[in-house]
């Protein structure tokens, strides 16, 4: 479909971290991403939210071609991004850009802002007046043109991230992956960055895949929200619907743990659900639903059968047995 910029189908990434033993060469894998499907529509912001270790950054790295998926497909405007493995044609690279979490590490300390911003221009827009383009980019993100002579360590954390955003925009992309762009920054700077991102999205008709662990941030930024838990998506919904009618017990747990300030907010917020237990190891996933070890509404079936994503209302899907047709235990045991 023309409207859908990025389509992930049953996307998987299993990292091999070792082998059973010297004799038994069965690989031990971490299922960082384990069968994820989602669609990003043109011009929207899809918020991908999850705890650390849920595989959300791995999805970002696969989309920009840093990591090769072990299964499934990733389509950009109908084109398979991994048709040639990690090799990717320049026009395709131009369309998908990424802003990394740590601006300290994403800008080379030995290169000036000018050199940093010139790199994408040299590769993707040869023949253009580089100096003029750098000034235009800096102006776009409201940085003074004189900054091009500075080194990254002369900039504040927020300014570094703004430069990283300018670099991502240098190729004039259509899809920008934001991998926790604000989580390394002060709260005061976070707002500034978010406003800048929203302004740029309007100006250039950008599509964002916004990856974060900060659910409350998504309320203001995302048009749709997808929740990840242990390498899987467990709930997807439009932002308004999502915050009002969270379906999955995990989502309810997350939403109930957001601190609130006013009485009015307290009234809307779901009742506090104490999260129990630790997040299981992705090396050794629990049988059945991966969330059953912490779920407050756990049923017998959850320990045996893995639920599937089912629609609960328009544009709202959840992966939970609460919303599936009841399943009966047969003489052979639980169906798998």
């Amino acid at each position: 479909m023309d409207d859908e910029v990025l389509i992930a189908q049953d996307l998987k990434k299993h990292f091999v971290i070792g082998y059973e033993s010297l004799m038994n060469r069965r690989p031990i894998t971490v299922k960082a991403v384990d069968g994820v499907s989602f669609r990003v529509r043109r011009g929207e912001t899809l918020g991908l939210v999850g705890e650390s270790g849920s595989g959300k950054s791995t999805i970002a790295y696969m989309t920009v071609g840093m990591v090769q998926p072990s299964g499934g497909t990733l389509l950009f405007r109908g084109q398979d991004l991994f048709a040639n493995g990690l090799k990717r044609a320049l026009p395709l690279r131009k369309e998908i850009q990424i802003v990394f979490q740590d601006p300290g590490s994403s800008l080379n300390p030995r290169r000036t802002i000018q050199q940093i911003l010139e790199l994408p221009l040299r590769i993707h827009a040869p023949g253009k007046d580089l100096g003029q383009e750098v000034v235009r980019l800096l102006d776009l993100v409201d940085l003074p043109p004189e900054y091009m002579h500075k080194y990254p360590q002369m900039l504040s954390g927020g300014e570094k991230q703004i430069v990283a955003i300018a670099r991502a925009l240098a190729t004039n992309p259509s899809l920008v992956i934001l991998d926790e762009p604000t989580s390394a920054l002060d709260v005061s700077v976070q707002g500034k960055i978010i406003n800048l991102l929203i302004r740029l999205q309007r100006e250039f008709d950008l599509t964002y895949l916004f990856i974060t662990h900060d659910l409350s941030l998504m309320r203001n930024v995302a048009s749709r929200v997808a929740i990840m838990y242990l390498g899987r998506i467990c709930e997807v919904a439009d932002a308004a619907e999502f915050f009002q009618f969270p379906q999955h017990p995990y989502t309810q747990m997350l939403l109930s743990s957001i601190p609130v300030v006013s009485e009015a907010e307290e009234a809307v917020k779901p009742k506090k659900i104490i999260s129990t237990g630790e997040i299981p190891s992705p090396v050794n996933l629990p049988k059945g639903c991966s969330f059953h070890t912490r779920c407050p509404q756990v049923m017998d079936i959850c320990k045996h059968v893995d639920p599937i994503l089912v629609g609960t209302s328009a544009g709202h899907t959840a992966r939970c047995h609460l919303f599936e047709q009841p399943v009966e235990v047969t003489a052979q045991g639980w169906p798998t």
Partner: protein, 309 residues
């Protein structure tokens, strides 16, 4: 953010000159901090002074040496084996040559050897280390690093002796011999640095942009390794000079009458202990050069220690 930033921007007039001034201040500040760290250890200053002195002596040898002609074929048996005096501060050798003059010219040769060896070894070692470190985990990495292991496994001096004795014993061949055993150390150093740096996001960023491998190696990775490489080069100057002196001591380096410190120590050793000055002063000269470069290297290491890599 409705372009409010524009108004704020006008407040301090950020002109090109202002930024230049800012950069200059920043550089001076770094320089000052660097000098402070370097000068906190008086030994580093001593090392720097020694290296500077030896370098100047070597460059201006024909003008500084009291008897520059003694570095060439020369005999004056009337003045053989004279003890140190005002005329001959380090004394004279068995054929009447001024030892001080020959030591000064000997510095020339030692430094020349160090410079040439490092000029051969550093580019090769650094390039291989960059490639192997960036390609970590691939076959390229394995081939390069196992090759360096092979070279490192051979005792360095024995390899140099073998090469120098198979080929004709002269300066070029001893430099080739030392270079052959020296490059793996740079490969190892740079390999370690590159394999850490390649995981930085600025490298991933350049990769996803579609930058060439050459750009990533030389523009993204290499500029971040300059300080450790320079430190090692300073320390290695001393080592190369020692090895060079060893080779000439056993007669596999520079041949007479060209003055080499190692050869002078070897020839003078016959006259110990009576004519001690023939051998002791060249030996002390070797100690001075090597010590100078080592102290300077330690100082540079302190200087770069606080720097983030």
């Amino acid at each position: 953010m409705a372009k409010q930033g524009k108004v704020e921007k006008l407040a301090p007039p950020i002109t090109r000159q202002y930024v230049r001034e800012l950069q200059r201040q920043n550089r001076m500040e770094n320089l000052g901090r660097g000098w402070y760290k370097f000068s906190r250890n008086p030994l580093s200053i001593l090392g720097a002074a020694m290296v500077l002195l030896v370098t100047l002596l070597a460059i201006f040898a024909p003008w500084v040496a009291p008897h520059p002609d003694h570095a060439e074929p020369f005999t004056d048996f009337g003045h053989a084996h004279l003890p140190p005096s005002l005329e001959y501060p380090f004394g004279t050798d068995e054929i009447g040559r001024d030892i001080l003059s020959r030591v000064i010219f000997g510095f020339r040769l030692s430094l020349w050897m160090g410079v040439v060896v490092l000029a051969l070894v550093v580019p090769v070692g650094v390039l291989l280390g960059l490639i192997a470190g960036y390609a970590q985990g691939t076959r390229v990495d394995t081939i390069i690093m196992r090759l360096t292991d092979v070279f490192l496994a051979v005792p360095p001096l024995i390899l140099a002796l073998a090469i120098a004795s198979v080929l004709k014993p002269n300066l070029t061949n001893s430099m080739v011999a030392v270079s052959l055993m020296w490059w793996p150390w740079y490969t190892r150093l740079v390999y370690g640095l590159a394999s850490t740096l390649r995981n930085e996001f600025f490298v991933s960023s350049a990769e996803t942009m579609g930058a060439s491998t050459a750009h990533i190696l030389f523009r993204e990775l290499l500029p971040n390794m300059i300080s450790p490489i320079f430190t090692k080069m300073s320390l290695d100057m001393g080592w190369v000079i020692i090895i060079g002196s060893m080779l000439s001591f056993v007669g596999l380096g520079v041949q007479e009458p060209t003055p080499a410190l190692g050869t002078m120590v070897a020839k003078g050793a016959r006259f110990l202990p009576d004519q001690w000055w023939v051998s002791i002063f060249p030996a002390l000269a070797i100690v001075a050069v090597v010590l100078g470069f080592n102290l300077l290297g330690d100082g540079l290491r302190d200087l770069f220690a606080g720097e983030e890599v």
